[in-house]
């Protein structure tokens, strides 16, 4: 029987943790695609997340042009080589998962990709030095897109919402609401698909490169094994199907009061920005883009309807994501190093500690649980549709006249 080496154990841990990270990415980002559709009652919560899960699964298979490395151009390549490189990636994944769960507990939408990059940077600084971090790459691939993407999406959604409400005056309030609700189903589906093509592949890239580092795949014949695609696609779809109700509530109900024309504008703007940026080679966070779109849709209708205190908390979470995930990744690396650089025992210990921490966060979240039934607005939508058929119904709020 073949003996199991330390690198075999660490590789297995990286694969399992990568899949777990994809799962947290799924339920953390469910809100991106379906929050506005649920908030306006266009879709029942369970139906919305089921649709999003299926489309995330399909999206993961649409394009197999995987991002070759998660940290390419952000840290020096040699730091991530060999068994100690595998340990470093493992520590980074742990940091990213813990930060994802922390922001989920505090009901804040934040970028899973930034968490992973933060984890890599933190572990790299602790393992080597700050000189190994490429500032130029960090600015051009992470910081700058993080600044411009929510602003562009917000402006597009604002103009779209303003235009939609101008048209509503001609269409009629209830017919417009009903029509845009149908549109929301399509726009939510497109964002789900785009999310699947982007986010599932980041983890596919991490696992595949770990397999290359381990010597299972030749770097000269780079390909993503089918089982990696299947595992990542399934993990992100299952995570989405679980439904990150806490973040859906924040995105759909707490940032601004959303109506179907706003939801459609926000989702259309988000899909456009994500797809255009992806096509022209700008990496960005779907969470930040969609949040910008939701804010823009609030501003396009009525300035006062945006809850700026929640926006402030969300932006704080965005700013903290890279440093906080970095600190956690650094701590994870430090703990594993106690057991010897590149040792399997260290990785097993931090894996165990991370599992305990994740369990505690889940336990704490049960105290103020938010479920699908808390967010269901479909009854209200059906009542309005009934009213539209009768030719009457409640008027749009004051902001509709913007």
């Amino acid at each position: 029987m073949a003996r199991v080496s330390a690198s075999d154990v660490i590789l297995a841990l990286v694969v399992v943790t990568g899949v777990c990270f994809d799962f947290t990415n799924g339920f953390h980002d469910t809100a991106n695609a379906v929050a506005t559709a649920i908030a306006t009652g266009a879709l029942k919560p369970r139906v919305a997340v089921a649709m999003s899960a299926v489309l995330n699964l399909v999206g993961a298979f649409i394009s197999i042009k995987v991002a070759a490395t998660i940290a390419k151009g952000i840290v020096n390549a040699h730091v991530l080589s060999g068994t100690s490189g595998l340990s470093l990636v493992f520590a980074a994944l742990i940091g990213a998962i813990i930060w994802n769960l922390t922001t989920w507990y505090f009901t804040m939408p934040s970028s899973s990709s930034h968490a992973l990059i933060g984890g890599v940077i933190g572990a790299t600084i602790v393992a080597s030095s700050v000189k190994q971090v490429k500032v130029h790459g960090l600015l051009s691939s992470v910081i700058f897109p993080a600044l411009f993407s929510p602003i562009i999406c917000g402006l597009v959604a604002m103009v779209g919402t303003f235009s939609a409400y101008r048209l509503i005056k001609r269409i009629g309030e209830n017919q417009a609401r009903k029509g845009y609700r149908y549109g929301q189903i399509g726009s939510a589906a497109l964002v789900s698909l785009a999310h699947g093509t982007n986010d599932a592949q980041k983890t596919m890239g991490v696992i595949t490169l770990a397999l290359i580092a381990h010597g299972d795949i030749s770097a000269n014949h780079f390909y993503v094994p089918f089982w990696v695609k299947l595992a990542c696609a399934t993990a992100i779809a299952l995570g989405t199907a679980i439904g990150g109700w806490r973040i859906i509530n924040t995105m759909g109900n707490r940032l601004t009061n959303i109506e179907s024309p706003q939801g459609f504008s926000a989702e259309s703007a988000s899909a456009s920005v994500i797809l255009a940026s992806s096509y022209y080679g700008y990496p960005l966070s779907t969470t930040q883009v969609v949040s910008g779109g939701v804010l823009g849709s609030g501003l396009g209708k009525q300035l006062a309807s945006v809850h700026w205190n929640v926006v402030g908390q969300m932006v704080t979470a965005w700013v903290l994501t890279i440093p906080a995930a970095g600190v956690m990744g650094g701590i994870a690396w430090e703990i594993s190093r106690i057991f010897g650089k590149g040792s399997a025992s260290g990785s097993i210990v931090i894996g165990f500690l991370a599992a305990v921490a994740a369990g505690m966060i889940f336990q704490l979240a049960q105290r103020n649980k938010i479920g699908a039934h808390d967010l269901d607005r479909s009854g209200q939508a059906e009542a309005e549709a009934e009213s539209a058929r009768d030719g009457g119904g409640p008027p749009l709020p004051a902001g509709a006249a913007a």
Partner: protein, 101 residues
């Protein structure tokens, strides 16, 4: 703005992103609104004005075609997004196979 030799901001790509996002984001919302408007008006004039109804339905059809075209372009963009370069033998995370003792 530039640090060292390469610019941090790719102005050309950024401009294209802004234009594409505006056409996609704002255009679809307006055209979809027009689609709803055409369908609503077509229903309203169903009994009395046959010619007017056909005009609204044709307008609705055009708007619907535009929305479907945007979705198709979106899916095409997803499927054809530029690939990242393949890692070189000595690139990130690549190391000689570990010795198995």
């Amino acid at each position: 703005m530039a640090i060292l030799a390469t610019p941090i901001i790719n102005g050309n790509a950024l401009w294209k992103i802004i234009v594409a996002s505006t056409i996609g984001g704002v255009g679809v919302v307006i055209v979809f609104g027009l689609l709803v408007l055409c369908v609503t008006r077509a229903e309203q004039v169903r009994a009395s004005h046959g010619g007017e109804r056909i005009l609204y339905l044709a307008g609705g059809l055009l708007c619907g075609a535009f929305c479907i075209a945007v979705i198709v372009i979106g899916i095409y963009a997803m499927a054809k997004k530029p690939a990242s370069p393949k890692p070189k033998a000595a690139a990130v995370l690549v190391a000689p196979p570990p010795t198995r003792s």
